[in-house]
């Protein structure tokens, strides 16, 4: 076990978002958290990341470091790409030369070119910014990575490349991850297990293991799984146009 949420519940301004949420994240496991917009996915992730204290329940952590990849890149506009990627290392007090070397290695892993290293975020494309955000998270060598719909804003082709990048990184760097998404096929591609939340009350509607090994599933298998699951009543909310933000 790396991370566990025990009976976690939270409310904003007295309005309950979800109650009694239970999650145990195993070693090297990637869990997809699925649900329509507004069901509390980001809140659960922020609780896991320690950004907000849950009003009810508790969080148990059995790891050294975590890192978060947000929906937006959240790069510092006044720092170069390389400095942004090394931000987590700088925050933990690593020297400039060490952190630049480590950041450059991670930047190359996510497909950034050396000529981009000195650019400011405003000079990067949207996809490159999100690559840099992923590199920044990986640079601190985290045991747990929390992804909050990281690829929603990028176009389809790039989305796939970035998903492959996460799958590969999870393999080689063996971190555990919670991957929040509202895209069923993305969940089926990147995760070992998925948890489906209700848009009504944030309740867990369904929790299931995804067959096959992550990263080895063919497009055909993924398509068939998504196709058959999306017919199940539990998943109906996910595809309800009224629930899309």
């Amino acid at each position: 076990m790396k991370l566990a949420l025990h009976g976690v519940g939270h409310s904003f301004l007295g309005r309950s978002v979800f109650e009694g949420f239970q999650l145990t994240l195993g070693e090297g496991e990637v869990v997809a958290l699925l649900g329509p917009s507004g069901c509390g996915k980001t809140t659960i992730l922020q609780i896991a990341a320690g950004l907000i204290e849950p009003l009810r329940g508790r969080v148990e952590r059995a790891y050294r470091r975590h890192a978060v990849v947000f929906q937006e890149p959240r790069l510092l506009p006044w720092q170069t790409t390389l400095a942004n990627i090394g931000y987590g290392l700088a925050a933990s007090g690593m020297s400039r030369s060490l952190r630049d070397a480590q950041a450059a290695a991670r930047a190359r892993d996510v497909g950034l070119l050396p000529e981009d290293f000195d650019k400011y975020p405003a000079e990067l494309s949207g996809g490159m910014r999100q690559r840099a955000a992923v590199a920044r998270a990986l640079a601190v060598d985290p045991d747990v990575v929390l992804f909050d719909e990281p690829f929603t804003a990028v176009d389809v082709g790039l989305k796939r490349a970035l998903q492959d990048l996460v799958i590969a990184a999870a393999e080689t760097r063996s971190f555990s991850a919670i991957f929040v998404t509202h895209d069923l096929s993305e969940a089926v591609r990147v995760a070992d297990r998925l948890i489906l939340l209700s848009g009504e009350d944030g309740r867990v509607l369904d929790s299931r293991q995804v067959a096959g090994q992550r990263g080895r599933r063919s497009d055909r298998e993924i398509f068939d799984m998504v196709d058959s699951w999306s017919r199940e009543p539990e998943f109906a909310e996910l595809f309800d146009p009224r629930r899309q933000s």
């Binding site: 922020q46 990341a49 320690g50 950004l51 470091r65 975590h66 890192a67 978060v68 947000f70 937006e72 959240r74 510092l76 506009p77 006044w78 720092q79 931000y87 987590g88 700088a90 925050a91 933990s92 000195d118 650019k119 400011y120 975020p121 405003a122 000079e123 601190v140």
Partner: protein
């Protein structure tokens, strides 16, 4: 080694070139002003408005006179001391207030009221409170300048990007690190605007206070020239004050801002000059 030095020299040259080039537009505007001044002179005559040429000859005479460094020194010391105090106190207090919602709510209306008090009123009050010494000119600059820096810093901290702050917290960044890397660069853009206003008003207010309290410096000279009906000297001293204000803005604040905010040009169409 030599290549590195040459590269650095090239960069400095490019920077200077750009700086001077951006000055051209400013110069063009200034010449329009001088032309209008000349027109005013021709309409109203020397006694109301001395010609620019006459004035600049007088300015040259003033700048070269042996007493000038001492006179300018007195005013510069007051203006810059006042500016440093105002910017320091205002920025620190404003940034602190920006972090506290309650403080912000209480102080904002107070600052708005204080900002509404004209500098001339501060001069009168400072003369009453501190007498007509060195202190009253400096105090006036401080009183007029603190609210500007305070308001800028408060606004800067209050509008910091909280999502970037949250990002920094997930990496375990300390409060000091977060201030330095997330809040400060954002705050600085507000501060440069506030400091530019403050340093400009510091010169004006100092000269005003000196004139009213008759405590030497440029204001003292202005008072003397007025008493002697030496109108070219009056306009010349005004020009000298403006030159001081321009030097402190374009000679000090602007280059610092350019260096600190290089990243800003990244989002401009012509990008960052490297």
């Amino acid at each position: 080694m030599a290549a590195g030095g040459l590269n650095l020299l090239g960069r400095a040259g490019a920077w200077l070139g750009r700086y001077i080039w951006s000055g051209w537009a400013g110069l063009a505007g200034l010449f329009c002003l001088v032309a209008a001044w000349q027109l005013g002179h021709e309409l109203y005559g020397s006694f109301i408005l001395p010609a620019p040429g006459e004035t600049f000859a007088k300015v040259q005479q003033i700048l070269l006179s042996p007493g000038f460094p001492a006179i300018a020194g007195v005013t510069a010391e007051r203006a810059l001391t006042g500016f440093a105090l105002a910017a320091g106190i205002g920025t620190i207090a404003g940034a602190a207030a920006g972090y506290s919602f309650a403080t912000m709510r209480i102080l904002k209306p107070i600052v708005t009221v204080i900002l509404g008090v004209p500098p001339i009123a501060w001069i009168v009050l400072a003369l009453i409170w501190f007498g007509s010494g060195n202190g009253s000119a400096v105090m006036t600059v401080v009183l007029a300048g603190v609210p500007i820096s305070f308001a800028g810093a408060l606004e800067g901290v209050a509008t910091r990007d909280r999502s970037l702050d949250a990002m920094a917290r997930t990496f375990g960044a300390s409060a000091v690190t977060r201030f330095r890397t997330v809040t400060l660069p954002h705050l600085l853009s507000y501060m440069f605007a506030a400091w530019t206003t403050t340093i400009g008003s510091a010169w004006k207010v100092t000269v005003m206070a000196e004139l009213l309290s008759n405590t030497g410096g440029v204001g003292g000279e202005l008072a003397t020239a007025r008493a002697l009906f030496d109108i070219p000297a009056v306009t010349a001293w005004i020009v000298v004050t403006v030159i001081f204000a321009l030097i402190s803005d374009f000679g000090i604040l602007h280059p610092i801002r350019e260096a600190v905010e290089r990243w800003r040009s990244a989002s401009l169409p012509w990008g960052v000059k490297r």
